[in-house]
Subunit: 129 residues, 2 copies
DNA sequence: TCACCATTTCAAATTTTTTTGAAATTATTC
DNA sequence: GAATAATTTCAAAAAAATTTGAAATGGTGA
């Protein structure tokens, strides 16, 4: 067996072209080891926060200008508590920050948040079916 | 009232600095209208697919080399059906594609998938708490 | 054609995320 | 220092995503 024993595996005869590529890459255990698991976890965290319509709308809006929560509730059609929930997610991920001005909390993008929106606007990924 | 009536709103007196910025941006309705809702929806779809550890591991793995499903089950520790579920999400988003080789389906990245992984590897976003 | 293998599909069970509304916080004004 | 405004927090309810295992599909070779 080429690469150890998998949970669900019987005998394997992987296509020659794939095996060849595998040899060139230094073998299965090498390929397996080179997965950057820690980096992947970090990426996952950020992607989770970005995978929500409401949060993206907030992010795009804040890329235009600073806003207090009442503006964001009006913009997104969300209740305060809902808005607040999403804001906390964005904040935890380091994408936005808030400063207090009297009774108002004014939210704005962090440099990290700004760089993300810039990417989106630049690349506009297209999804096909 | 500056900008219409929100669901939860009483009287508002937004901080002067924010109002000033708002005027410079052409007023509230202008800022509101300029949110690219369609683009945001597209971004959301892709982010949703990318916001999962298993799928990211598959994506990173495929950026190293083509793999059949049995390899991916071994790599991720997932059952076939679980793997298949995640593969279909990645495929629907246009990030990976499959070609059949006898009994085997060999998955690989699309150009779009490749460009995404390239970005991740380049920017390695950091999350702070 | 039959048995077998790699993989997908389906529906039910489980887990995770989001929504809701009421109550708590914090600052402000009188 | 009470009343009020903007916002957050909390716990329960609802919705969405994932996991599971059994059954289906489609290719292969005898």
């Amino acid at each position: 067996m080429l690469w150890g024993y998998g949970v669900n595996m019987k005998k394997l005869e992987i296509p020659e072209e794939v095996k060849k590529e595998l040899r060139e890459k230094g073998g299965w255990s090498n390929v397996k080891k080179s997965l950057p698991l820690k980096e992947i976890k970090e990426v996952e965290k950020v992607m989770k926060v970005l995978s929500c319509d409401t949060r993206l709308r907030i992010l795009y809006a804040l890329s235009e200008q600073r806003m207090c929560v009442c503006m964001l509730t009006e913009l997104t059609g969300c209740s305060y508590s809902k808005c607040s929930y999403h804001l906390s997610k964005l904040k935890d991920a380091g994408l936005i920050k808030a400063t207090r001005k009297g009774n108002y909390l004014i939210y704005s993008l962090t440099p990290f948040g700004r760089s993300i929106v810039r990417h989106f606007k630049k690349y506009k990924p297209e999804v096909k079916k």
